[in-house]
C-alpha cells in the first residue's frame, strides 16, 4: 500500500492536512515524502493514503514532482528563503565629561567683587574732595545696590573720617 508514487495526506506536524507523494522507502516504518510538504523522512503512522498514484521513479527530484503534480491539478509554489537581516546595533551615545565650571565661576566672582570695592572707595575719596553733594548720593545708591553689612560698615567709617565734606541727608 505505501509504495513509491502513492499520494498521501499528512496527519501530524505543522504540515498536517497537506498532500504529498512517497518518493523513497528506506525502512518498513519510514518513507521519504515530497510535494506540498517539506522533503523529509516521515513515520508511516503519520500518513493517510489516498486512492490515486503517480508514476515516479525511486528518488525523484523536486522538479519532477512539481511537474507531475501539475498534471493532477495541484500547483506547488516555490518559496524563496528570506535572507535574515542582521539587526542594526544601536550606537550608544558617548557621555562627554562635563567641564568643571562651578569653582571657576566662584573665583571669578570674587575677583570681580574685590576691584569693585576698591574702586568705590577710591571714587568716594576723589569725589568727596571735589563735589561732595552729588557724588555722595550717587555713591550711596551704588553702595545700596551692591550692599552687604561689611561694606556698609566700612563706608560709614570712611564717611565719618571726613565729616566736613559729607552733608547731612534730609
Amino acid at each position: 500500500m505505501f509504495d513509491v508514487g502513492r499520494l498521501c495526506v499528512k496527519t501530524r506536524g505543522r504540515d498536517a492536512g497537506k498532500k504529498c507523494v512517497i518518493v523513497d522507502k528506506p525502512d518498513e516504518t519510514h518513507a521519504t515524502v515530497d510535494g506540498l510538504v517539506r522533503r523529509r523522512n516521515v513515520n508511516i503512522k503519520h500518513l493517510e493514503p489516498l486512492k490515486e498514484t503517480i508514476k515516479i521513479s525511486k528518488g525523484a527530484s523536486h522538479a519532477t514532482v512539481i511537474s507531475e503534480f501539475k498534471k493532477f491539478g495541484i500547483e506547488i509554489k516555490e518559496t524563496k528563503k528570506k535572507e535574515s537581516k542582521s539587526r542594526p546595533k544601536t550606537q550608544k551615545k558617548k557621555k562627554t565629561p562635563k567641564p568643571q565650571k562651578q569653582p571657576e565661576k566662584k573665583a571669578e566672582k570674587k575677583k570681580q567683587e574685590k576691584p569693585k570695592k576698591d574702586e568705590t572707595r577710591k571714587e568716594q575719596s576723589s569725589f568727596v574732595s571735589q563735589k561732595p553733594e552729588v557724588s555722595v548720593k550717587t555713591e550711596k545708591k551704588e553702595v545700596k545696590k551692591e550692599a552687604t553689612e561689611t561694606k556698609k560698615d566700612k563706608k560709614e567709617t570712611n564717611i565719618k573720617e571726613n565729616p566736613e565734606s559729607t552733608p547731612k541727608n534730609g
Binding site: V9, T11, R14, A16, G17, H46
Partner: protein
C-alpha cells in the same frame, strides 16, 4: 491585622524576604486554569498559563503550538479529523 479585601481565597499568600532581613506577606493574584481540548477535554500542551497583561507581551509562538487547530484541539483529535475528511 489584614484588611477585609485580603481575606478572600482568590488571592494567594507569598512570604517575601526584604533586604532589611524582614519576612513580609504579599498577596498575589492566581494564574488562570490550564487550557483543554474542545472535543475530548484533555489538557493541551504548548499553551502558556499567565495573566492577560503577560500574555499580551508574549510572542505568538509561545502561546500555542504551530499546527492547524493548535491551541484548540489536541494532536490526537486533529489527526482523527484529517483522516475522516480524507476518507470522504
Amino acid at each position: 491585622m489584614p484588611s477585609g479585601r485580603h481575606k478572600s481565597r482568590s488571592l494567594r499568600r507569598v512570604f517575601v524576604k526584604t533586604p532589611g532581613s524582614r519576612t513580609v506577606l504579599h498577596y498575589k493574584k492566581r494564574a488562570p486554569s490550564k487550557a483543554k481540548c474542545s472535543s475530548c477535554g484533555a489538557v493541551l500542551k504548548g499553551v502558556a498559563r499567565a495573566r492577560p497583561h503577560k500574555m499580551q507581551n508574549m510572542p505568538k509562538t509561545k502561546k500555542r503550538p504551530q499546527r492547524p487547530y493548535g491551541g484548540v484541539l489536541c494532536s490526537k483529535c486533529t489527526a482523527r479529523m484529517i483522516k475522516d475528511k480524507s476518507r470522504k
